[in-house]
């Protein structure tokens, strides 16, 4: 099996980007602020998103001609890590990753829509259930008829604050990817497990739409958006796991019971050592997925690069989502009673980690995708 050697390190530029995103987030979105926000009316922090967009975060992988920063998905992945570390309630995944990638992959017809997203002036959402894995069949929940869409999509991430919806729909002439003004649809927020990431049901009734890709191109754009989403989601999951590990290690050093810091008990220490091993493995896997995604984006015509991107994204979701959940669960457990309270931020991470483990396909779905990609066929049940 041949594979290109992936660059698994962080470049200096990426580390600088990390530092500026981290300092902005520490300043504007500490855990207490996030907790206060999820209890208010508007979970999404649009002011924070504007500031992040101001340093280029919304349009990182978008070419400069199209109004973006002209960086790549490796840089986006570093931002995703930082956003995960502080469970930031901003529409990065829905708008800057899923919707923007779908539009970029759709081609020339969609280029006009991208600049506003890249600058953070507008927010978009990709109208598919967030649980959709990259290999899923083209969704048929929405029908297209005479340039208008009808149908309902559940579990759409970042639709609540979206100005624009990117919608896969099927018409008499087959699948297409459409752009719809959010005002032309009915967006109803639902209560989501992840307090920091609002989901909504989106209903279209003969909503005016503009087609930006059709047929196979629409299917490919959607699949690539979901694949890039899976790769970047793993970076977010790494950030969640890192926060959980670091916070718990710090607590284990200061919390005393039986006359000793709890971190001096092997039953605690060994679990944290195991977690550290898992997190350092996750970091390598995440970097691999980000590099493979970046390479595929750079050369959209390269089928082998696209396959490597799919493979590494599936690997990342199959591995890292479990690590993030484990880390968040251990954080709650090893903090004892305080970890079970509403006031401690651990639960925000637990909820993010668990819902991330379902977003864009559960680990078992990704293992099945891998089975196909690396030729380990399923058993025939006879």
């Amino acid at each position: 099996m041949s594979e290109k050697r992936l660059d698994l390190l962080y470049t200096e530029v990426e580390q600088e980007l990390r530092a500026s995103v981290r300092s902005l987030l520490e300043d504007k979105s500490p855990p207490e602020a996030v907790l206060a926000r999820v209890e208010g009316d508007q979970v999404t922090d649009t002011a924070l998103w504007k500031e992040l967009a101001g340093i280029g975060v919304a349009g990182l992988p978008v070419a400069e001609e199209l109004g973006g920063a002209g960086a790549g998905l490796r840089e986006s992945a570093v931002v995703a890590e930082e956003l995960g570390r502080c469970v930031a309630p901003v529409p990065f995944l829905g708008s800057a990753v899923l919707a923007t990638t779908a539009l970029l992959e759709a081609g020339a017809e969609a280029e006009g829509d991208i600049a506003a997203l890249a600058s953070g002036e507008a927010v978009a959402a990709l109208a598919v259930p967030l649980a959709t894995p990259p290999g899923a069949a083209f969704p048929e929940a929405v029908r297209a008829e005479d340039g208008a869409l009808s149908g309902t999509v559940t579990g759409v991430v970042d639709a609540v604050t979206a100005d624009v919806l990117v919608v896969p729909a099927v018409g008499p002439d087959g699948p297409g990817l459409y752009v719809v003004e959010a005002a032309a649809a009915r967006v109803s927020p639902v209560v989501s497990l992840d307090l920091t990431r609002p989901l909504a049901e989106v209903a279209f009734t003969a909503s005016a739409a503009r087609r930006v890709a059709s047929g196979e191109a629409a299917g490919r754009a959607l699949r690539r958006a979901l694949t890039a989403g899976a790769a970047l989601l793993s970076a977010e999951q790494l950030g969640v796991a890192e926060w959980a590990l670091e916070t718990t290690v710090a607590y284990a050093k200061t919390r005393h019971q039986f006359g000793r810091p709890i971190g001096s008990f092997q039953a605690v220490k060994h679990r944290l050592a195991d977690l550290w091993v898992a997190v350092s493995q996750a970091r390598a896997v995440v970097r691999g997925a980000a590099s493979a995604a970046a390479a595929a984006r750079q050369d959209p015509g390269d089928a082998e690069a696209a396959r490597e991107a799919e493979l590494n994204a599936a690997l990342a979701q199959a591995f890292v989502s479990g690590v993030a959940v484990k880390a968040a669960e251990e954080a709650v457990q090893l903090h004892g009673g305080i970890g079970f309270t509403w006031e401690h931020p651990a639960h925000l991470y637990l909820k993010r980690a668990k819902s991330d483990a379902i977003a864009l396909g559960t680990a078992d779905r990704h293992r099945l995708a891998l089975a196909r990609l690396v030729d380990l066929p399923a058993a025939e049940v006879g």
Binding site: V249, K253, S264, Q266, A273
Partner: protein, 401 residues
């Protein structure tokens, strides 16, 4: 061949040129392996970070990967070196760090070429994880030391010419302070090696009895009483996986399981499918982690991930080899050969899945148990408080045994 002085001017292209020059004069295809390795040692391409004349060029350690890759690309990967791990991986770096110029000149080259095999006389019946508790006594007698004691679990002692040996020289001070480290000639009078059969049926390892063994003081490695510090260097090298070659996807034991799956559709069940895929994912995560460590070393930013590598590898090997047996069903209940024998080294490739399963149980014990490695990660990497110590200020002779 170029003989320009080495040093700061060395970079990857310069090393590739040196490799090319060596291959020009010694065609690996027609040169005897040992002879070729001797020439490679003389050219400073054995361990590039070692000093000139001692197998290296005084180059940055990270450049070793460049040299290894280049030899690999040219089709030269030495074979049959399973029995040399202790010499190459542990004795060599320890001799380099603590040896006298005479010791380095005497031991490094034959160790590298494989002419001389090494073993490690560390563990004792009463001292394994707590190595510093060991009791093998060395008593000075003029210019020699007289050694008495018993070592155990000693891999390859039956083939070894030399051993790295840790002894107790002062029982009246706390355990870490009274140890001294030696190079022991395994053919010396009083060294008796007895095979110790292990659960696989064969005997890689041995009991070694030391009775009035005389070791010249010139074979001491490091100062008297400094044995623990020297041993630390050995142990660190034993545990830390050093960069080395990039591994292809599906390297290692997972290749065996994947091959069985692909070629034997009749063995497939849905449950085994998911179990196999989980381990495939784990194996790939472990491979990428090692690859990331290698890339870090190559740009001179070694990370602590090295201490995780051995730990993760042993767990993975155990799980994959366990699945391999279940996958094989009825065949998994068979074993290849229980004959009592003394292997040349540890080679999994040539043996059956049952052997893979059994041998891999040693991976989480040899070179430090997984429990000890967890302690090390928790304390040295995460900075968690140390274990409660009851033996710190007590003289070795007063410790409960």
């Amino acid at each position: 061949m170029t003989t320009a002085p080495a040093g700061a001017s060395l970079d990857a292209p310069a090393l590739r040129r040196r490799v090319a020059a060596l291959v020009e004069t010694h065609d690996p295809a027609t040169t005897d392996q040992r002879e070729f390795l001797a020439a490679r040692f003389d050219a400073g391409l054995a361990w590039v970070h070692f000093p000139e004349g001692e197998g290296g060029l005084g180059a940055p350690r990270s450049l070793q990967a460049v040299v290894d890759q280049e030899f690999e690309r040219l089709g030269f990967v030495p074979t049959g070196r399973e029995g040399l791990v202790i010499g190459l991986g542990m004795a060599a770096p320890t001799i380099l760090a603590f040896g006298t110029p005479e010791q380095r000149a005497r031991y490094l080259k034959p160790l590298y070429t494989g002419e001389e095999v090494w073993c490690q006389l560390f563990s004792e019946p009463g001292a394994g994880s707590d190595l510093a508790a060991l009791g093998t006594r060395a008593v000075r007698d003029g210019d020699t030391w007289v050694v008495n004691g018993q070592k155990v679990w000693t891999s390859l002692a039956h083939r070894a010419h030399f051993a790295i040996l840790v002894t107790r020289t002062d029982p009246d001070v706390p355990k870490h302070k009274g140890m001294t480290y030696f190079i022991c000639d395994m053919s010396a009078d009083g060294v008796e090696v007895r095979p110790l059969r292990q659960l696989t049926g064969e005997a890689e390892f041995n009991e070694v009895y030391l009775t009035d063994v005389r070791i010249p003081d010139s074979q001491r490695l490091g100062a008297e009483g400094e044995g623990w510090r020297v041993a630390q260097t050995t142990l660190m090298n034993e545990r830390v996986a050093i960069g080395g070659h990039p591994e292809p996807r599906e390297g290692g034991l997972i290749a065996v399981a994947a091959h069985i799956w692909r070629t034997r559709p009749e063995l497939r069940t849905p449950g085994l499918h998911d179990a196999l895929l989980r381990l495939w994912v784990e194996a790939e995560a472990a491979r990428l982690t090692k690859e990331r460590l290698r890339q870090q070393l190559a740009v001179g930013q070694p990370g602590p991930e090295g201490s995780a590598a051995k730990f993760a590898f042993s767990r993975l090997n155990q799980e994959i080899s366990g699945l391999e047996l279940e996958l094989l069903g009825e065949e998994g209940m068979l074993y290849d050969d229980w004959t009592f024998r003394r292997p040349e080294g540890v080679s999994l490739a040539a043996r059956s899945p049952g052997f893979h399963y059994l041998r891999s149980k040693g991976n989480s014990i040899e070179g430090g148990t997984s429990e000890i490695l967890r302690n090390i990660i928790a304390e040295r990497v995460l900075g968690l408080p140390g274990e409660i110590r009851v033996d710190k200020d007590v003289a070795w002779k007063d410790l409960p045994k």
